[in-house]
């Protein structure tokens, strides 16, 4: 266990000889961004507006360019990430979300764009000292006091306690000016976090009944009509969600060739997975149902029980109509009746 003064954090970040992505405040909103001199760090922010999903899976990325010159077509493929970088200050829920994304992108056939970014990232996590009312990561087995990272930081008073969990984490931590520290304050901090999370309104949601065995029953529930009524189909939930991983690949005509890009897509949209014969989900009810069935039923049924919700609560805060996964779990879960 090591420690350093909170006031030293920025100088440590500045000294890291590779790109660092971390929560930064800009005009009142905190988002992950690359560190540069002069940015306003927001390491204490429990919940960034969007998750750090962008670091591994950006909202837009070029895949390749085709350029037409006379009778020749030249193809330039986008280079894969080849440089190590640090994701600093990530929270336990968002890091668990990477494991959900891994199931999708690292399964055969491996997504090489994602895999390269995943491989080169070093994750310095921040334990969640102040969970918010919208947090319910514990329901999905996430421990906000012990994120699954390379290095973990715990804030105790005006100091950060730091411990590494992997070889590359140890190497990074060893390069920082830190002092040896006792385990006891971290133990107390962890107990405090557990107590705080336990007192949150959604801490004890019951997931009983959300599994492959209840798939047909849940799918056919008459409650989806009311649950989805006010849905605007805006997809804010899917964009803010750390585990939503659907994307579209499109060609943009540049006038002298084609730029092939990938962008986030959303099951909330009317043209999502549109086929020649039309859409299998003609109204917002089907689209809305799809999103939650995927998170709570289809994904765990296909991935050894791993839910694709991590309880970050962003959808609870973001939905303009206050629809969210908590309402779905309460309305349809057997354990919440």
């Amino acid at each position: 266990m090591r420690k350093f003064a909170a006031s030293q954090a920025e100088s440590i970040i500045r000294s890291i000889p590779m790109p660092v992505y971390l929560p930064v405040e800009k005009e009142g909103l905190v988002e992950y961004a690359r560190y540069e001199e002069g940015v306003k760090l927001a390491l204490d922010t429990c919940k960034t507006e969007k998750s750090p999903k962008d670091v591994l899976f950006p909202q837009w990325e070029d895949l390749m360019h085709f350029r037409v010159e006379g009778k020749n077509i030249t193809l330039t493929e986008q280079e894969r990430c080849s440089q190590d970088y640090v994701l600093f200050g990530a929270r336990a829920c968002d890091i668990r979300a990477f494991k959900v994304l891994d199931k999708v992108f690292l399964a055969d056939p491996v997504d090489t764009y994602y895999a390269a970014r995943r491989q080169h990232g070093i994750i310095v996590a921040m334990a969640c000292g102040e969970p918010l009312d919208s947090c319910f990561c514990g329901v999905f087995g996430v421990d906000p006091a012990e994120p699954e990272a390379d290095v973990i930081l715990w804030k105790v008073g005006e100091e950060y306690y730091a411990d590494s969990r992997t070889e590359k984490g140890k190497k990074l931590l060893d390069s920082w000016p830190t002092q040896p520290a006792e385990e006891a304050p971290v133990k107390a901090a962890k107990a405090d976090i557990a107590k705080k999370l336990d007192s949150k309104p959604f801490a004890h949601l019951n997931l009983k009944g959300f599994d492959g065995d209840h798939m047909k029953e849940l799918f056919a529930s008459p409650k989806w009509k009311q649950l989805s009524l006010a849905c605007l189909g805006c997809g804010s939930c899917t964009f803010a969600c750390p585990t939503c991983q659907c994307y579209d690949i499109r060609d943009y005509d540049t006038g002298h060739g084609v730029q092939r890009y990938r962008c986030w897509d959303s099951c909330m949209y009317s043209d999502f997975t549109l086929m020649a014969a039309g859409t299998p989900r003609p109204t917002q009810l089907e689209r809305y149902r799809q999103r939650f069935m995927h998170k709570l039923v289809y994904f765990p049924a296909n991935n050894d029980g791993m839910y694709s919700c991590v309880g970050c609560g962003r959808c609870v805060r973001k939905c303009p109509m206050n629809l969210n996964i908590v309402k779905v779990i309460k309305a349809l879960g057997e354990g919440n009746k």
């Binding site: 507006e49 189909g233 805006c234 964009f239 730029q259 009317s270 043209d271 969210n324 908590v326």
Partner: protein, 292 residues
């Protein structure tokens, strides 16, 4: 507000019981104090969850589109500003008046967890443009003083560059979720050009970072003269972009160039932007307006 809420609930139950309406469109409480959602109630039993009060900020007029062809009448609870949106939709033949029973609900300003909603800080009025009955009290008719064009005027005083920088910065946060478009009662195309893969502009990604900026400006042009300033666009924006200021700029310009006009008022008529009079401003007026 509780008195108004109880009276609305009582009336809705009566109208459901005697068959005047087949369903009620209102709000239900959420999991936290302020996270109410629009909801549909189809029986007296459903109505147990019905609420009305300071967290009923959502404008239900556009949701009415879903019930235009439903069997029987739908009772909808509208606040004064919502009634303007509803009436605008009637004027555009998007809603069928006969399919709705409107209870005008007295409003004292709506809130969310951060206090009074932005749209309520500039309340536009307490009268109901369209209704079957009004459930109100004296207190909810009191209009707080406000100047809804104050921020617009401040933007107008900026230089071109300052204003450009302001909007570039605000709009750079846009994630193109289209919540503003989807909630907007003036945006009622059955198929938006941006959702149509055949349009060639289905914008799931922006080819340049200027594109989403243009989207909002063009959308504001499209709803100009029809936007009632209901403020839902800014309320629902997950990135907190003050989109209502674009609309208010158009409203202010229309007021100044063609005389005071409030979209959503009156019955079918020629509106400032769909009619011509000899006293209309010449296009050249743009050279005399703005700074620099």
């Amino acid at each position: 507000m509780q008195v108004i809420a109880n009276a609305i609930k009582k009336r809705a139950l009566e109208l459901l019981a005697d068959g005047t309406v087949a369903r009620v469109l209102g709000w239900q409480p959420g999991e936290q104090q302020s996270d109410w959602s629009p909801a549909l109630f189809e029986s007296a039993d459903d109505m147990k969850d019905f609420v009305y009060g300071k967290y009923a900020g959502a404008n239900l007029s556009k949701t009415c589109l879903k019930f235009n062809k439903a069997e029987g009448k739908t009772l909808v609870v509208l606040k004064p500003c919502d009634a303007l949106s509803f009436n605008q939709l009637l004027k555009e033949h998007r809603l069928n008046r006969d399919k709705f029973y409107i209870i005008g609900a007295g409003c004292k300003g709506m809130e969310d967890e951060n206090g009074l909603l932005l749209k309520c800080q500039c309340c536009k009025g307490k009268t109901f443009e369209v209704f079957d009955e009004v459930i109100d009290d004296e207190e909810s008719r009191r209009l707080p003083p406000s100047d809804r064009f104050e921020q617009v005027a401040r933007l107008e005083k900026m230089t071109h560059q300052e204003r450009f920088d302001f909007w570039r910065s605000e709009l750079s946060r846009c994630i193109r979720c289209n919540a503003c478009r989807n909630v907007c009662p003036a945006c009622t195309c059955q198929k938006c050009v941006f959702d149509n893969p055949d349009s060639g502009v289905a914008a799931k990604a922006n080819t340049t970072d200027f594109e989403e900026n243009m989207f909002h400006i063009i959308r504001a042009f499209h709803v100009a003269g029809r936007c009632t300033d209901c403020g839902e666009c800014s309320r629902v924006c997950p990135q907190h972009i003050p989109l209502h200021l674009l609309n208010r700029k158009f409203i202010k310009d229309i007021d100044e160039l063609y005389g005071d006009y409030q979209a959503g008022i009156g019955e079918e008529e020629r509106t400032p932007l769909t009619t011509y009079t000899k006293t209309d401003a010449d296009p050249g007026v743009v050279h005399e307006r703005g700074n620099e």
